[in-house]
Symmetry: C2
Subunit: 133 residues, 2 copies
Amino acid sequence: MEIRQSGSVPARPAPREYFSGSVWQQAICDPSDETALRALLVTFAPGGRTHWHTHPKGQTLVVTAGSGLIQRRGGPVQAIRAGDTVWIPPGEEHWHGAGPQTLMCHVAMQESEGGVGAHWLEPVTDAQYRGED
Amino acid sequence: MEIRQSGSVPARPAPREYFSGSVWQQAICDPSDETALRALLVTFAPGGRTHWHTHPKGQTLVVTAGSGLIQRRGGPVQAIRAGDTVWIPPGEEHWHGAGPQTLMCHVAMQESEGGVGAHWLEPVTDAQYRGED
């Protein structure tokens, strides 16, 4: 068993090619020969968000602090708040992030398929983020 | 996508055949045709703990509040605290729970294999729990 003590795992800026604004990621577990599961803690500063993307095996989110936004392609922008959980089915195009003026932290967990945990698409425009497009 | 709002998911007593003491479970996500992942929030009142068990595909824990204890068979009883994460490899016999006088909450996530997420063994004795055996 491996215990990673609080304070021992660095938070890193989320990759600029897949995220907009100020977003931080901290690893919880990584896929290996033994498991396909990846989990990480993600913190979105106000306005920060993912690009549009899908997950080959779906994704579960647990909002651990603050409040933010989530949208599936073609659906409304919806609020999510600390304590909420979200299941995103395989292949569903979506994005998630902070509110315009509120921070949001979530644990994200997804299984990878063939070593791939997400397929990344285009950025969320400001009009999409505001729910105007 | 399915959003489960905080307050909408009941906490249920953990099964008496696999847990000792006062332990509560709240579902985060369940295995389905689309995913092998199960995740749940578990709250152990002081003295509460799992029985000895293993996971066919391993398990990841994220301690979200309080502090507690964890032990792999043959190893020392170790403290875990809010913010710590733990990876338990497939087949490793172990238990986890609260401290004798402290509460512990964790998110547990594990993939199932053939529909089975855990193999359950005997209860943790008081002497084992105290690290005396």
